[in-house]
Symmetry: C2
Subunit: 660 residues, 2 copies
């Protein structure tokens, strides 16, 4: 298996036009980005101020005052600019661009003479730069600003912010490295690594790639930089505001810095940090043709997605450290499954697809996108889940402290928060996740079935493609070739895992057979302009079981339909949901209803409900033999991404099964 060296960002252009996805991208453009701008400027009534813009004004010398917000507050500015960049690329907006230009001007003014840029250390701890990589997110913030600059440059062609971050990266390159006199360090929160790869892509500057490689390779080596750094600070902790015991190397698993990354086999520690790092590792494996790193990526991918991933594409089983726990430990009710972690998993999948086109990466990408990620956002774009549970009992969320982190309703988005801007930047750049093009092999891969106009530059020449999709409601996508090169090229259509390997393919109305290679139906031929390809993966509701080692789901099933995971809500099925079971052989009846936001397919199934009538409130336990049998009921399941949009109530993805 060769390592593909073709990036997707060459000269390819993709623009989404899709009935399901347009409302999300419009929401980001019309609501999330403007709302976040107000938040960054401390203009949301009754919300804690963000201080993010103000910090830059103070750092730039335009205003007097104290630093406000978290140590990583700058990253909110960066994520907003990044989302704006993506948005402008697909949807020009002169006024928004002017606002962004002014903000970029401000950012530039806050930059030090030597290139350094960070308002926390500029305002609050001048002279303390690079003394607390472990906790202070300095390179993390740098990474986000780099991502913003790249996105903004690619959208507008304007170099201002790009120049700022290049100067900053050049400075960072003088501070960090294995050469004598440089810091052999790396950030406590990975992010800059993947950002430097992007900066290398748009600038062509090898130094940025090498710096990313340095950070990745240095991580977890002995002596452990983060531990030694803590010692040099005398154990002082930024977060605890006091001296703490020096952490052990093993505790650096939280930051994935307990062993060198190439030796890591299992996803551990803070899940967002982990997947951001894996993303950069996959980038580097591709760009440097590093087989050892590729093998590490595959191992970490396998462990993350096959042993530690919820069916919704959520990762992170515990809120203690927002972290992975261990294989098959996937509790539904004390879950974490942070939105940002699923977004990072999508980044990782995207980079693995650039490395090697295997449908399992796209399967996971789609799973995380259609369930965990879009489920995190309310239909008004102003309320978010940070934790995305698979089972909710609102009273327990309120009254059992072990479940306080699991919210039954999406929370109002206040100034300082990671997930909403991350959703914004993912959704506004979703066009980057639909296809990859292998120029040398003359193949266009279709990973996601999202309506879009696309152009690819293959070695054979330019390809124009118009995708129309009925996903997620129907298994149908139609591709019109709007431009074709003279020679042959291949269209590789993902055969989704949910199709059970069954799909129909028509070319110009005639059914054709196809070969499946690594999960893609590959059709290679000389195409003519106007050729129509119709792709019909089987899309039917089905019951899904979990691996028996996943104890939380024993004896249960989930309903899935195409890429969507379904759930039961109290609004449709009453309470307690635990009293319900689903008949294993039930017919699953799907129908579209306009009653759910945006219109959606709901599923009805045959179920059984335990009888409650014979129970007295004062009888907690009694002989099973006294119970009457369960009674037949109709179960109604709704797409997981729509849960919690009606009155607060119980929700569950996994449903007990019964035999008849």
């Amino acid at each position: 298996m060769g390592i593909s060296t073709s990036g997707q960002h060459s000269k390819n252009r993709i623009r989404i036009q899709d009935g399901f996805w347009n409302p999300f991208t419009e929401l980001v453009r019309e609501t999330v980005i403007p709302y976040q701008w107000e938040a960054l400027n401390d203009r949301i009534p009754d919300a804690e101020p963000s201080y993010a813009v103000r910090n830059f004004r103070i750092a730039a010398g335009l205003e007097e005052g104290e630093f406000g917000g978290m140590v990583f507050q700058d990253s909110d500015i960066a994520k907003w600019l990044e989302a704006v960049g993506y948005s402008l690329a697909s949807h020009p907006d002169p006024e928004l661009e002017r606002t962004a230009d002014e903000l970029i001007e401000l950012v530039a003014q806050a930059q030090h003479e030597n290139g350094y840029l960070n308002t926390y250390f500029t305002i609050k701890e001048p002279g303390k730069q690079w003394t607390n990589l472990h906790e202070a997110h300095e390179l993390y913030c740098a990474g986000h600003m780099i991502e913003a600059a790249v996105a903004y440059y690619e959208a507008t062609g304007k170099r201002k912010l790009l120049d700022v971050v290049c100067k900053f990266a050049d400075y960072i390159d003088t501070v960090f490295g294995s050469e004598p006199g440089k810091l052999r360090g790396y950030d406590g929160h990975q992010e800059i690594e993947l950002a430097l790869v992007k900066l290398h892509r748009v600038t062509g500057e090898e130094r940025y790639l090498k710096l990313a490689q340095f950070f990745i390779d240095e991580r977890g080596t002995e002596p452990n930089f983060l531990v030694e750094e803590c010692k040099q600070r005398g154990g002082y902790s930024h977060w605890a505001k006091k001296v703490l015991p020096i952490p052990t190397v093993r505790q650096m698993a939280y930051n994935q810095a307990h062993v060198p990354v190439r030796q890591q086999d299992a996803a551990v520690g803070h899940s967002v940090r982990a997947v951001y790092m894996y993303t950069a590792m996959a980038d580097l494996a591709r760009l440097t043709n590093d087989r050892e790193l590729l093998e590490a990526c595959r191992r970490l991918w396998d462990n993350t997605t096959k042993k530690q991933m919820y069916i919704t594409g959520g990762i992170g089983s515990t809120h203690h450290g927002e972290a992975f726990s261990f294989d098959y430990d996937l509790p539904n009710d004390t879950v974490y499954a942070e939105t940002c972690a699923s977004i990072g998993l999508i980044f990782f999948a995207n980079r693995m697809l650039q490395l090697e086109a295997k449908s399992e990466y796209a399967d996971v990408m789609e799973r995380a996108l259609y369930n965990n990620v879009i489920g995190s956002m309310s239909q008004d774009g102003k309320h978010y889940f940070y934790v995305n549970p698979l089972e909710v009992w609102p009273k327990a969320s309120e009254l059992n402290p072990g479940r306080h982190h699991v919210k039954a309703v999406r929370q109002k988005w206040f100034g300082c928060s990671c997930c909403p801007p991350n959703v914004a930047r993912l959704l506004s750049s979703l066009n980057d996740y639909i296809y990859t093009a292998a120029a040398v092999e003359n193949t266009v891969y279709v990973h996601l079935f999202i309506g879009s106009e696309a152009q690819f530059e293959l070695d054979a020449g330019r390809v124009g493609l118009l995708q129309q999709s009925r996903l997620p409601w129907e298994g149908y996508a139609r591709f019109e070739l709007t431009a074709v090169p003279g020679g042959a090229f291949a269209l590789a259509l993902r055969l989704p895992s949910w199709s059970g390997g069954q799909a129909g393919l028509k070319i110009n109305g005639a059914a054709v057979s196809f070969n499946v290679v690594n999960g893609y139906a590959v059709v290679k031929r000389v195409w003519a302009p106007g050729d129509i390809v119709e792709w019909e993966p089987r899309l039917e509701a089905q019951l899904t079981a979990a691996h028996p080692e996943i104890r939380a789901n024993a004896g249960k099933a989930a309903i899935e339909r195409g890429p969507l995971v379904y759930c039961l809500e109290e609004a449709d099925n009453g309470s307690p949901l635990a009293s319900l079971s689903i008949v294993r052989g039930t017919e699953l009846r799907s129908y579209m209803t306009p009653e759910l936001p945006g219109g959606a397919v709901v599923i009805e199934a045959d179920g059984r409900a335990e009888e409650h009538a014979s129970w007295q409130a004062d009888t907690p336990y009694r002989p099973l033999a006294e119970l009457q049998g369960a009674v037949p009921v109709k179960l109604t399941a709704v797409p997981y991404y729509l849960w919690g949009n009606r009155k607060p109530g119980e929700m569950t993805v996994w449903i007990r099964t019964c035999s008849e």
Copy 2:
């Protein structure tokens, strides 16, 4: 329903002689008490020192040094002396008594001139007495010393410690009260209330009863004493070692001080504090004929035992604050169910039985005793569970921080700990829980079926009773009347809830019918010496279901046999236990095996095991339709109190049910 005013501690004498219980009481006498003495003297190798004896030596001026251990370290000395008292009562031991006498001498030397006694405030914060009732356990420690003194006095007739605590209580009475100039306060951890009732019992001194009443009545009134006290300390917290925000009255629910006790309807807050308080409330309701307090006790009993109690008699659903959460929230895996809380529940049940003989109190008492309490102790008496889970996955206990508090193996008992000495004092005074005698009504109630010799003083005269019991393995108890008065009196035998109301009664070999009053078979007659009563409540293994609102147990059943709850262990049934289900109509085959410690009845049942063979490690989810059916297996269940005595592994009380 009249309130019985007959205490059980009048002139009644009960001595246990029982095949099941003797090993436990011997373990306490021969191992736990001597081992704890070594611990209190810091002589356990590799264990953290207790400092408890040393603190008294320092406070007495016999040694120089700093205070060691927790602020409530004195209570460990008290609990040990109390257990010694009970032990000496049933089993004289001159050497142990000499040791105890010397310790009591030391305690007396540490007492201040004015009666005050607390080594923490004597050594570490002199002058700060009574300034942090909320956190510093001053009256709590006093209460335990009072309980010790009462037990030691009743066992030995020696007044030394009794005089010490009377002097202390007299002093406390000058400090606390509603009179002008006195502190209108109470302890953050209830305990002294029930202790003062005992002190009143042995001394006849009304002031002690009134002081207990003051503490109970003052609690939760406005302005809230604990909140005001925090304000006076400027918010300084003993535990946090810094100034914290002043807590709200609502937060005082942790200490059951959020509203006056008479207005409390539901068990809230720290569960041990709660049941210690309810115990004193029941005492006071009985002794002062207080109907309002009785009604509060009944409400709190009902809520605790019918909405917030595990089937094992455990209470406290969350380790956050070792606390109750809310009705029907009884998670099996993130449980707390502290040993001390179940012991406190037994105290409460015992006091309710003194108030009114209703079998439901004894049912709960027996449930907590035979399951949660004795299950907490290892067979060597040196290892204990503080948390008593109903479901354990050892790997999750180790690797998921939300379950670190749930241990898969009993922990070595170190110097400072509450549960082991509490188990010791309960088991060494178990004779006090078997019977109550209503002298005026001339009735002897048998609550527990534990072999014992007993003497009661009824108005009709002296009754001598010899109970022999085959519990918990067989439903058979035999009573020989060894002494009888001239007139009639009633023997009231508990008809246990687990019998399903079915029992056989024989008198002198002849079956007789009986009336059931409040759950007791009451036989009133003029008895002759040598009369034999045989009582055979039906004792059969059965499956038990939980109330449908207890979501954690939906679709599951527990195996119970008489007073014992059973569980599945990995040692007998493999892993994961979640793959197993029990056939709803299964025969439950019981047999005695010598292979379990002490010999025990195990139960075999028909079950089903999900098939694992067709699952690949890399397939976390797949269509339910692809699964093969579950295969028949034999399930082996062992008594819960014996779990975790073999190699560490999974355990579960609640088992999924299947239909065939």
